[in-house]
């Protein structure tokens, strides 16, 4: 079965969605991602949807679910690179993805995650977090 790869980058997980999402794939991603966060103790998750051109209400809800689940597991989520057409569709569907942080590019997404993790992890001394 096809899966969406989850890459680890230091303290963060990177998910790049490059294919059209169907419901089964979305559910698999949700499971894989939560497991991976728990395994690695990741502090942030970045979902790059710049190649995603079609969304429906299910995928929209999945994004906000993933974000909520990650928050429960103590990881920040940022969605980056949303296409204008996707944004308009989500708004028309009435999904404003409240509580999901968004960024225009991967670079800005990383900066947000670093800031968020840095602000929280300043007291830690095990050196796991860069800078």
């Amino acid at each position: 079965m096809e899966r969406i790869p989850i890459l680890r980058m230091g303290d963060f997980l990177l998910v790049t969605i490059q294919v059209d999402m169907h419901d089964r794939l979305a559910m698999t991603l949700q499971e894989d991602l939560t497991r991976k966060i728990a395994e690695t103790g990741a502090r942030g998750v970045m979902i790059d949807i710049s190649a995603l051109e079609i969304v429906d209400s299910f995928i929209g809800r999945m994004m906000s679910h993933i974000s909520s689940m990650a928050r429960v597991l103590d990881a920040k989520t940022v969605v980056v690179g949303m296409q204008p057409a996707v944004a308009i569709t989500l708004v028309e569907l009435g999904l404003s993805l409240k509580g999901v942080h968004t960024a225009l590019t991967v670079e800005k997404g990383v900066r947000y995650l670093e800031d968020a993790a840095g602000a929280r992890g300043r007291g830690r001394t095990n050196g796991r977090h860069p800078k």
Partner: protein
């Protein structure tokens, strides 16, 4: 017999072409005296002559009842042209239809002369001629209406294009001055051009300035919120500026919740916030004297 009667009308027209034309164009010039500056006499006379020629040709075919028929294509084309040009020249629908209706008087006069004592024939011909001219007159009005609608549609399109400029104010700061009422179609265009520009310029902040929006009701507010939400989904923040006191009152009275959105009274205030958020500040270079 209907056949003889229709041929009768065609023949009357043909025989009296010159005198009909003279009478008609004189009447018409009188009726349209107010519009002297809109159309030249020679042009009007030319149109009359064309119409008469086409009418003669069409009536000789023998088919008078149905002006949608193939014999009437020529006259329909002519009326299309005349009505369309009238609509552009600024004639009223009445004045446009008068062009056809005013032909009744000279025509009925000639019919009376031709038929003389034949009351029955006169009545028959007058009736069919009257029906025919009525139909042609109404047809002119239809065409006039259509060309007017075309003008309106075109203007609407042009307004749509004019009214949605996205301006780059500063590095990573966009401004969108909204002017006029926001309906669904315009919101769609505004949203699309804004989101496209956000991607193209990599902007982090967009300022929606509603100084030029005359009224904000629930629908307009809904559209604004949609635009702001869409921009946020893309990763850009929106500030709404240019909220006039009356509009602030309306928003609160209508119970519209804008608490998730940063709002400012003027574009200048919004710009300052935008600079702050992107890490810039404005400093006075020279002390005031």
């Amino acid at each position: 017999m209907p056949v003889t009667s229709t041929i009768g009308l065609g023949e009357v027209l043909k025989k009296n072409r010159e005198s009909l034309l003279a009478d008609w164009s004189r009447d018409l010039a009188g009726a349209l005296s107010r519009q002297k500056d809109l159309i030249r006499d020679s042009e009007l006379k030319g149109q009359c002559a064309d119409f008469l020629d086409q009418l003669i040709r069409a009536t000789q075919s023998g088919e008078v009842a149905n002006i949608q028929g193939p014999h009437w294509a020529g006259i329909r084309d002519l009326l299309n042209k005349i009505s369309a040009s009238r609509a552009v020249q600024g004639f009223t629908p009445t004045e446009t239809a008068t062009f056809v209706f005013s032909f009744k008087k000279p025509l009925f006069g000639r019919l009376k002369q031709e038929f003389g004592q034949d009351v029955e024939g006169l009545f028959r011909e007058t009736w069919s001629a009257s029906l025919l001219l009525d139909e042609l007159g109404i047809y002119t009005t239809d065409v006039y209406q259509k060309s007017r609608e075309n003008v309106i549609n075109r203007q609407q399109r042009e307004m749509m294009e004019l009214s949605t400029p996205v301006i780059k104010l500063f590095d990573k700061v966009l401004a969108l001055p909204l002017i006029g009422t926001l309906d669904s179609a315009r919101t769609q265009t505004v949203m699309e051009s804004l989101l496209k520009e956000i991607v193209a310029s990599g902007s982090e902040i967009a300022i929606l300035d509603i100084t030029g929006v005359p009224t904000v009701d629930t629908v307009v507010a809904q559209h604004l919120i949609k635009t702001v939400t869409a921009a946020r989904l893309m990763g850009a923040e929106c500030i709404i500026s240019g909220i006039r006191p009356q509009i602030a009152q309306t928003i609160v009275h209508l119970g519209i919740n804008l608490s998730d959105i940063v709002t400012k009274a003027t574009l200048a205030d919004a710009f300052e916030i935008a600079l702050e958020k992107t890490g810039f500040s404005v400093v006075q270079a020279r002390p005031e004297e």
